[in-house]
C-alpha cells in the first residue's frame, strides 16, 4: 500500500505563468524512507506543502495515509509530522514549552505532553537547553528541535524538507542516523539535493525535474535503470590516457570517454564488450595501465543524466 500518492498534480502561480508542478505522479510505499531528489526549483517544497495541506493544488489529486489531501482536514494533519525547509518557532518559548505546545495541539493532555517533550529533548540532545528561550538557539539546535516537534505525535508519515540543510557534519550524522532508525515504523518523505544523504538513509527515491517525476524506484534499481555501469581506467601517465581516449573514440564513437589527467571514465551499455575492447586498445598501443575497475552507477550519475544540471 502506498502511504503517499499523487495523480497528475499541478500547481501554478501568477495565473499559470509559473508552473511549479506539472503533472506530478508520485507513489511512496508504506514504511519506506523516500528520498525526494531534485535540483533547486524543481518543485519539491511545493509538492510537500500540498501533501501537508498547506497549499492547494491547481489540479490533480493527492492522498496521504489514505486521506484525500485537503487543507481543512484535521484528520489528515493528525497523522503527519512536518519539518519545513527553514523552520521557525516562537522565539519567546523555551524548547520544552514548544514541544509541550506542539503535543497539546494534537490533543494530548498536559502530563503526557510534558513527558513526551522530555523524551524528545533527550533524543535530540537538547535536555540542557530545554529550559532556554528558542531565540537563543543555534541553527543546528533549531533544526533538531524542528525534527523533535515533527515527531511529537509519533506520526504515521513524516515530511522533512531539506532536514540537513543547515547542519554541521556531526549534526547531519545524528539526523540521518535518527531518520534511518524510523525505517519500517514511519513513512518518511525527505526532500534534499544532497545525494549522499539519500544514499545513506533512503531505500526508495524519486527524482523530480521541472515539476514532474523523472524517475522513481529503489535506489539500486533506479541506478541500474537510468545510468549504465562505469568502466574506470587509470594509466601511468596523462599521455597514455589521452592515447586511450583517442583510440576509444574511433571504434565506439557514441560513448565518449570522460575523465581528466591519467583517469578515464566510460559509461558502458554492454560491459563485457566494452571491457574486451578497452583491453584490446591498451594491448595494441602498449599503454601502461595501473588500474581497471568496473563501478556501479551512483545516484549522482543518475541525477546528472536525468536532470542534466538544469533546473
Amino acid at each position: 500500500m502506498d502511504a503517499i500518492r499523487t495523480s497528475a498534480l499541478v500547481k501554478s502561480y501568477e495565473r499559470g505563468k509559473v508552473l511549479a508542478l506539472n503533472g506530478l505522479d508520485l507513489a511512496v510505499p508504506d514504511g519506506s524512507v523516500f528520498g525526494f531528489l531534485g535540483p533547486n526549483g524543481a518543485g519539491k517544497t511545493t509538492a510537500i506543502k500540498i501533501l501537508t495541506g498547506l497549499v492547494e493544488p491547481t489540479a490533480g489529486e493527492a492522498w496521504v495515509a489514505g486521506e484525500p489531501v485537503d487543507n481543512a482536514s484535521a484528520r489528515l494533519r493528525s497523522q503527519i509530522g512536518y519539518l519545513s525547509q527553514e523552520p521557525r518557532f516562537y522565539s519567546w518559548m523555551t524548547g520544552r514549552e514548544l514541544l509541550v505546545f506542539a503535543g497539546r495541539l494534537f490533543g494530548t493532555g498536559a502530563a503526557t505532553a510534558g513527558r513526551r517533550a522530555d523524551e524528545l529533548l533527550e533524543m535530540s540532545g537538547l535536555t540542557q537547553a530545554g529550559g532556554r528561550r528558542i531565540g537563543g538557539y543555534s541553527g543546528g539546535m533549531v533544526q533538531r528541535l524542528g525534527i523533535a516537534q515533527a515527531i511529537v505525535s509519533e506520526p504515521r508519515i513524516l515530511f522533512l524538507d531539506e532536514p540537513c540543510a543547515s547542519l554541521d557534519p556531526l549534526g547531519r550524522r545524528d539526523v540521518l542516523g535518527f531518520i534511518a532508525r524510523l525505517h519500517g515504523r514511519t513513512t518518511v518523505l525527505m526532500s534534499t539535493h544532497i545525494l549522499e544523504d539519500v544514499e545513506r538513509v533512503c531505500d526508495t527515491v524519486g527524482i523530480i525535474h521541472r515539476g514532474r517525476m523523472a524517475a522513481t524506484g529503489e535506489v539500486r534499481e533506479i541506478a541500474r535503470r537510468f545510468a549504465p555501469p562505469v568502466l574506470e581506467l587509470e594509466f601511468e601517465t596523462a599521455e597514455a590516457a589521452d592515447g586511450f581516449r583517442n583510440a576509444w573514440a574511433e571504434p565506439s564513437g557514441a560513448v565518449p570517454a570522460e575523465g581528466t589527467g591519467a583517469l578515464v571514465r566510460i559509461g558502458v551499455a554492454d560491459l563485457a564488450q566494452a571491457r574486451t575492447e578497452a583491453l584490446r586498445i591498451i594491448a595494441s598501443r602498449g599503454l601502461a595501465l595501473t588500474r581497471l575497475e568496473v563501478r556501479s552507477a551512483s545516484l549522482e550519475d543518475v541525477f546528472v543524466r536525468l536532470v542534466g544540471g538544469t533546473p
Binding site: T52, P87, Y90, W92, G107, G109
Partner: protein
C-alpha cells in the same frame, strides 16, 4: 486526557501577550488615561486661565464638571489609546505569516478558524480588561475631583467606548489576516480608521458608524439613552471583518 486545540491556542496567545509585555503596556496605558483624564478636565481651565493672566488677558472658561471629565476620558481612549491599540494589534496574524510560525501551527490538527478565533478572543479580552481598569480609575478620580458620575450612565458610556475600540481592533485584525506585511496591515488599519471617521457627515448613515458611539458615550454619561444604530452598525462591521478574515486566511498559502 485529550483536549481540543482552541484552549491550547488561547493559552499560548495569552502567554505571548504577557511575555511580549503587550498586556502590561496596554494595562498601563489605559490606567494612565483613566487617571489622567479627570485631572486634565479639572486643571486644564485653570492652566489656560493662568496663561491668559500672564499675558494680561482674562479668559473665562466654564467651571469643569464630571461630564467634562467623562468626555475627556472618552476622547483620550478613542484617540491616543486607540492609536496604540492598532499599533499593538496590526501584527497579530501577519507577523506569524511573515515569521513562519503560522506554518508550524497550521500543519498540526488545528483549524484556521480556531487559529484566528484564539487570537481575536485574547485581543478582545485584553481590551475589555484594559477598559474595565481604565474605567474604574476614571470613575474613582472623577468622583474624587468632582462629584461621582451616574454609575449606570458611566457603565453605558464605557460599553459604547468598548464597542468602538473592539470594532477597530477587529478591522485591524482583518487587515492583519489579509496583508502580506505588518507595514501594509498597519497602513490599511489607520486608513480605515480615518475613512470611517471622515464618513461622520453622511447624514443618516453616520448614525450607524462606530464614530457615533463616542458621542453616544458622552451623552450616556449625562443620562441620555444609548442609540441602537451605532451598535448595529459596529456589530455588523465586526462580523464582516472577522468573517472576511477567516475566508481570506483559509485560502492563504505559505
Amino acid at each position: 486526557m485529550r483536549c481540543g486545540a482552541f484552549p491550547v491556542l488561547l493559552r499560548k496567545e495569552l502567554r505571548e501577550q504577557t511575555r511580549s509585555y503587550r498586556l502590561l503596556v496596554l494595562g498601563l496605558l489605559f490606567v494612565f488615561f483613566g487617571l489622567a483624564s479627570p485631572l486634565f478636565a479639572k486643571f486644564t481651565p485653570e492652566i489656560v486661565k493662568m496663561a491668559g493672566t500672564d499675558q494680561g488677558i482674562t479668559i473665562v472658561l466654564p467651571q469643569p464638571t464630571a461630564a467634562a471629565a467623562v468626555a475627556q476620558y472618552v476622547k483620550n481612549l478613542s484617540q491616543i489609546a486607540l492609536f496604540v491599540l492598532i499599533f499593538l494589534s496590526m501584527g497579530a496574524v501577519v507577523a506569524e505569516k511573515e515569521h513562519g510560525t503560522a506554518v508550524f501551527v497550521l500543519v498540526k490538527p488545528v483549524s484556521r478558524l480556531a487559529f484566528l478565533s484564539a487570537k481575536l478572543a485574547v485581543s478582545w479580552a485584553a481590551v475589555m480588561g484594559a477598559v474595565v481598569l481604565s474605567g474604574l480609575c476614571a470613575y474613582g478620580y472623577t468622583a474624587a475631583l468632582f462629584e461621582p458620575p451616574s454609575t449606570a450612565g458611566f457603565v453605558l458610556a464605557n460599553l459604547a467606548l468598548l464597542l468602538h475600540l473592539l470594532t477597530f481592533v477587529t478591522t485591524t485584525f482583518f487587515f492583519s489576516a489579509v496583508a502580506r506585511s505588518q507595514v501594509v496591515a498597519g497602513v490599511l488599519s489607520f486608513l480605515s480608521w480615518i475613512l470611517l471617521a471622515s464618513l461622520g457627515g453622511l447624514g443618516a448613515v453616520s448614525e450607524f458608524l462606530p464614530g457615533r458611539l463616542l458621542s453616544a458615550a458622552m451623552e450616556a454619561a449625562a443620562g441620555v439613552p444609548l442609540p441602537w444604530e451605532p451598535f448595529v452598525g459596529s456589530g455588523a462591521l465586526i462580523v464582516l471583518a472577522f468573517v472576511g478574515a477567516v475566508l481570506v486566511f483559509r485560502r492563504w498559502e505559505p
